[in-house]
Amino acid sequence: MKQSALLVLLIIFLFCSFVFLFHRSIDELNPEKGKNWWSVSFIRPDRNRNIDIVVTNYTETKDFSYQILGDNTLISEGNFEAPLGENKVLLITPEKSFSQQHVVVRVKHKDEVQELFRNYK
């Protein structure tokens, strides 16, 4: 059998392997595909008193809630929706928090809770 025919078949095999792996990496790195996690962060970490947040949702369900606690006392709370793949911005800095020593932003999604906090002591 001609070597060149074998080479062509080898290249075809290799091409198939490359296509599969490249495609797989794109899927794996796509945060919206087959993932189930979310994150919360301050929008302006450089501003000490600003506690506006952004929630990035990579789960199928979009219902979230939040609470703001100042020195362990509830200052405000609310519900919001963040669809899959969206960076949901929440401008929630209450004036009341400016005088607190320890401010916590607690975000809940199903049974999972994530917290951010600021210490001013």
Partner: protein, 654 residues
């Protein structure tokens, strides 16, 4: 990222940069339809030649102060390729004119061709399944390498391999040093990856780096099988049946021993997914150089010797350890061959020098010397790093492996067959040809360095040297397997039929079970896609909210793909600082401990002192394992949180 727009430019660039330019130059060296090269050699030589042109070309452009971009690379590489093709063609004119068709032309029968396709298909299938779960960018080594490749493609300049370290300081306790040279990285490891990214705009976070290494791994299998083909043709043992003992069969059995069997463990696909770039290159270049040397010496064709010199020189700019190992193999082979032929020393030496003093090898030597002294030396020469690999072994990991560890590393059946092969070679050959010297020296010297590095004053991790041993062991094992089959066939009339059958079945079961076990024990059960996506997200957040004035420390023990974080900042190789594996602090008390204190005990006196001395103001940790000590600390704010990663900011004075 849409698949065709990302994949097709990568594929086109890979073909052009890694094959076409080399194929063009090879065509000038050998006749286009020359029969003295098998197609597998043409494929592997084209790749290696392309690497030589690309690496030396890019270093020359960079050293000349010209920016490395699509335009300059296109123009310069085209000119260099054409120039080399003309030079090589002129320098090898006599060899091409005197070229005669070989006595035997590599051809597969229909049955052999089918077996080849089955073997290569199974190899690619197993490797692809393994890589599919490791294709996301998590490997530490690959992250480190790609930082340098990205710095080349982003800045258009050759990188200055340096890093900042935290060191003890009598005045302030600790301080961050100015960038200090690193000897561990060699430019050739990064240039091709950078060039692919420059031409195709491929993202370093895509599969392209792993696919590039996957390609080199497949080529190294073909190089090993081709080397086995020629070595088998050079070994003459009494009574070997031509129907079984042929170069083509040796090619196929070698492919079996490196392909479907033992295809994942070190130094194969595990090294590919782990991004052990230098070793992967070395695993292709060492067999290729030996193949060229063997063919050059056997056929007295100086073109092969010239190629061997060129590839050796290229390897020196890609990977120091592989170059080091190759030099040992080379010296051992020369000494052994001369020792075996001590009655004919003068004619042999005369033959070698006649070959070496032909125009093509001489031109390669001249170009290499000029490049070394007037363009660039390998970084490990400049930083005098060679001395760190030489001396009495200092750590337990460098004092050699036991025979059992070697056996587990290379595969017990392959080792058993190779030892039997050594016996055949030592006592059974009619001639003392190069095949015998090459194989015995290659195995002998690597076994010696692996088992007793102290005898040769080598201070390198023994497991890394052991990885090089699997190649000669695999080749000789496959040759020995063929010899055994051949002898079983030869003596079948003298042996009881049941004994022959039992021996054959036992041999196959022994080899297949061990080789498959090696594969299955390396397969991952699940992908790390979700945690790495979380690491990427956190890195993007930090990159957007910090500047080069900020200092970051992150954890290497628990965060998935943390080594890739530096690619989002591009603010220095050691940015962000990293808490290393805990064992590193215990085994090396002289190592700085600030990175440990700042994450493990941030509120302790040592922790406080380290934050102050280093200026670190952001901490990135695993959300589950390390958050307790920061949640209770008063001097930090938690600014980013997810199931996987949490980021704390050190409070500034309010």
């Amino acid at each position: 990222m849409w698949f065709p727009t990302a994949f097709l430019p990568f594929l086109a660039t890979l073909s052009a940069l890694c094959f076409i330019i080399g194929w063009f130059v090879l065509g000038a060296l050998f006749e286009r339809h020359s029969l003295i090269l098998t197609l597998w050699e043409k494929l592997c030589f084209s790749f290696a030649l392309s690497q030589s042109i690309l690496i030396f070309g890019m270093i020359t452009i960079g050293k000349a102060g010209i920016s490395l971009n699509v335009l300059t690379l296109s123009v310069f590489l085209t000119l260099l390729t054409v120039f080399l093709a003309i030079c090589f063609s002129l320098l090898s004119r006599r060899e091409r004119q005197e070229e005669k068709p070989p006595q035997h032309i590599f051809t597969f029968s229909k049955k052999q061709a089918l077996i080849f396709l089955l073997l290569i298909g199974a190899t690619l299938l197993i490797k692809t399944i393994y890589l599919s779960n490791t294709i996301v960018p998590t490997a530490t080594d690959l992250g480190h390498h790609l930082y340098w490749a990205k710095s080349i493609s982003e800045t258009g300049n050759l990188p200055f391999y340096a890093e900042q370290n935290i060191v003890s300081d009598p005045a302030s306790g600790f301080r961050v040093t100015s960038p200090e040279p690193i000897a561990d990285f060699i430019i050739g490891e990064h240039l091709t990856l950078a060039a692919i990214s420059i031409f195709s705009a491929a993202s370093y976070l895509s599969a392209f780096p792993v696919l590039f290494l996957h390609l080199i791994n497949i080529l190294s299998l073909l190089a090993l099988a081709t080397l086995a083909y020629y070595l088998a043709r050079g070994i003459k043992l009494p009574g070997l049946k031509k129907s079984l003992w042929s170069g083509e069969n040796a090619f196929l059995v070698t492919l079996l021993f490196f392909g479907p069997l033992y295809s994942i463990g070190s130094p194969q696909s595990k090294f590919v997914s782990g991004g052990v770039v230098g070793n992967i290159f070395g695993n292709l270049f060492i067999p290729l150089i030996l193949l060229c040397l063997y063919r050059g010496l056997r056929t007295k064709d100086s073109r092969f010797l010239g190629l061997a010199l060129l590839f050796s020189w290229t390897l020196a700019y890609i990977h120091h350890l592989s170059t080091f190992m190759f030099l040992f193999i080379l010296v051992a082979t020369i000494l052994l061959h001369l020792a075996l032929h001590f009655r004919n020393l003068l004619p042999i030496l005369k033959d070698w020098f006649t070959l070496l003093l032909r125009p093509f090898p001489l031109a390669v030597i001249t170009m290499s010397v000029l490049f070394f002294f007037y363009v660039a030396m390998p970084t490990y020469i400049e930083t005098n790093a060679v001395t760190t690999a030489v001396g009495t072994p200092t750590r337990t990991t460098r004092t050699g492996l036991t025979f059992e560890q070697v056996s587990n590393s290379v595969g017990t059946p392959r080792l058993a067959l190779a030892l039997l092969g050594l016996f055949f070679l030592a006592f059974g050959t009619k001639t003392k040809g190069y095949a015998r010297s090459f194989l015995i020296a290659w195995i002998g010297i690597l076994l010696l360095i692996t088992l007793r590095p102290d005898l040769l004053f080598i201070d390198i991790p023994s497991s890394r040297i052991g990885a090089y041993l699997s190649f000669p062991i695999g080749i000789l094992g496959s040759l020995s397997f063929l010899i055994l089959l051949s002898y079983l066939k030869l003596y079948r009339d003298f042996l009881p039929r049941i004994l022959s059958l039992f021996s054959l079945v036992f041999l196959f079961v022994f080899i297949f079970s061990n080789g498959s076990y090696d594969n299955s024990s390396s397969l991952l059960t699940e992908s790390k896609a979700e945690p790495i996506v979380a690491t990427i997200h956190a890195s993007e957040f930090l990159a957007a909210h910090t500047s080069s004035d900020d200092r970051i420390v992150k954890d290497h023990n628990f965060i998935v793909g943390d080594a890739w974080m530096k690619l989002f900042f591009m603010r220095g190789y050691s940015y962000p600082f990293s808490r290393a594996y805990f064992g590193r602090y215990e085994t090396n008390p002289d190592r700085e401990h600030c990175t440990l204190y700042m994450i493990s005990t941030p509120s302790s006196k040592d922790g406080e002192r380290c934050f102050q001395a280093t200026g670190v103001n952001f901490v990135v940790i695993d959300s589950v394992k390390d958050s307790a000590q920061f949640d209770s600390a008063k001097k930090f704010s938690k600014i980013y949180s997810s199931r996987y990663i949490t980021i704390y900011q050190k409070n500034t004075s309010l």
